[in-house]
Symmetry: C2
Subunit: 349 residues, 2 copies
């Protein structure tokens, strides 16, 4: 073995645990004969951990995770309305904390309509685009507060923070990606209303565009972008957008390409200063948890993104192909582990 990859595995809550189990099996299978060994550390984090210990993500957890080369995450979140979770915000306290602390400034979310995948659109056409969602600023920074709380005079503010530094690095990433794809980049924002945050995004996209004369640049307001996602998704190649618009667009994109059961994502720190984190776009789905009903495909495709990020391009491509073959040929409903079995069988075929 010439190389060891230290992988932090965070199964999380609900179906996160079930899908990660299959993703790990796929990872093991595809790397079994290679010369890279994965050394895994399992972290118990999420609503389950919070209910046991009261912790969301301690400094020790964070330091331990940071010492890894990459992270595989399932999903986190308890049962909605669980009174014991009333004062916890697992999303901000754990998931977003990891994205922010590990400077995951690129939230990479590919959307592809695989042959055979079910989808809600009558004539979807070819869908193959990537959303490059900014991951460390915008409306997600948590800069807000409330006065006269709980009274009829309450005022709650929430500030979106957008920096030239933060935008430029993610925009550069998006242009480079577009250059390796179909040379088309669409900025999505709401510049006609959010004039300050919109103007800085527009200025920086224009500036970086001048260094990429081959890339055709387009702009859409976020509302119009949602229309095109259902009426003409083929028009998109790379979309670059802020944290909140990216959140919205990628769920919708997942839906139009067969459901978020298939949507993978990478939270990437391209500098390599911190480990990048790979996770399905879906949540922990407490309503179907523990029943082996969840589709592990999104988690398995997240393994493909992880392998690609680690430079293991052949392995990534093999996982991707196995999943595509599986999607093309699904018939009877399967349990989570049967789906894993099927994909592993394709891998080994």
């Amino acid at each position: 073995m010439s190389r060891v990859v230290k992988l932090a595995v965070i199964p999380g809550d609900g179906i996160g645990r079930e899908v990660v189990a299959q993703a790990e099996r796929v990872l093991d299978a595809v790397t079994a004969d290679g010369d890279v060994a994965f050394e895994k550390t399992r972290f118990s984090l999420g609503a389950g951990r919070y209910l046991e210990t009261g912790d969301t993500l301690t400094d020790d957890d964070l330091a331990a995770i940071r010492s890894h080369d990459a992270i595989l995450l399932g999903a986190v979140g308890g049962t909605p309305g669980d009174p014991r979770l009333k004062d916890a915000n697992i999303e901000r306290g754990m998931l977003l904390k990891l994205r922010f602390e590990l400077d995951h400034y690129v939230n990479l979310r590919p959307s592809k309509l695989f042959a055979g995948a079910p989808g809600p659109l009558a004539s979807p056409g070819e869908i193959d685009f990537v959303v490059v969602r900014e991951g460390t600023e915008g409306p997600y920074v948590g800069n807000g507060g409330s006065i006269r709380k709980g009274t009829p005079h309450e005022i709650a503010n929430e500030t979106s923070v957008n920096t030239a530094f933060g935008i430029e690095r993610v925009v550069r990433y998006a242009f480079e990606l577009a250059g390796r794809r179909r040379n088309k980049l669409t900025l999505v924002h709401k510049t006609n209303v959010l004039v300050h945050s919109g103007a800085i995004w527009q200025r920086i996209v224009e500036q970086v565009a001048s260094e990429h004369p081959d890339v055709v640049v387009d702009y859409l307001h976020v509302d119009a972008a949602t229309i095109f996602l259902v009426t003409d998704p083929s028009r998109f190649d790379v979309i670059v957008t802020d944290n909140l618009f990216g959140d919205i667009l990628t769920d919708l994109a997942g839906a139009v390409t067969g459901g978020i059961g298939l949507a993978a994502s990478g939270n990437i720190n391209p500098d390599g200063t911190f480990p990048s984190m790979f996770e399905p776009v879906h949540g922990s789905a407490p309503d179907i948890a523990g029943q082996e009903k969840a589709d592990p495909t999104a988690a398995i495709l997240s393994v493909a993104l992880l392998l690609d990020h680690l430079g293991l391009r052949d392995e990534a491509a093999r996982v991707q192909r196995a999943v595509e073959a599986d999607i093309a040929d699904r018939s009877t409903p399967r349990s989570t582990s049967e789906a894993g079995d099927a994909i592993i069988a394709r891998l080994q075929a």
Copy 2:
């Protein structure tokens, strides 16, 4: 004539002028034999006016408009990228200024899939819901700014302002509407991330809910809501949400119900202190302007909303029925005025 309604008509730019012409014809036709007279004043506002005079909306314009009972608006906005409009923001300076100055705190956007309407979904099911979008606060307030502008150290902030006062009045409106419909209300927000603005929305919805025990209350994060809009739109009855999420959801809702060529809206001041304003959800579409290609249906359905708001329920229902009959029976492509002719013929049949 026992009653005179003073109507301000703002055709605006591009196809706005063409669709408003048909909407006015329909209004004239449906009120011809009634005992309400519409006294119309035409206002030239929008990109065209700005290019001529440099004004977006002067104090005099505003005072004059305010003295009317209601407003019919087409669409505003010039050609994207027109260098002469670089320093203008017609949307903020005119459209949003009207919504804010006239305290249009309810932005009412019905979404209905009419029999025969084309749509992108393979199995849409029955779609019939209304989005009650807050219209005077949230991320739309324009409270923001930038420091070190144009430099690599620029920081642009944009603050969403949410008040108990502003939220409570629109939430009350939404609950009352749900009570007159199918008794279901869905709050859409992003409470797990936008904790401050999300918490105040949630608190007020819970509080008003206690006065409406018959209304079943549901909550969805905005990203999940976009998924359901394409996978299960029948689940919605009344959606209440903030200004930005409402903007996004209603464009998507328009798309799934046959395109924003059919989507009407009312900017309503329920108190009656200021005139309410009715407009199609679509924009001025400069690319097809002046060619009589635009579908005037959304503008005509906006007339139905206007009539309903004025208490002319029979007339509103007649317009609505004429449009539904027309949609059910469209065949060959028609010009904007031919579409107007067809709907007027149905009205008079």
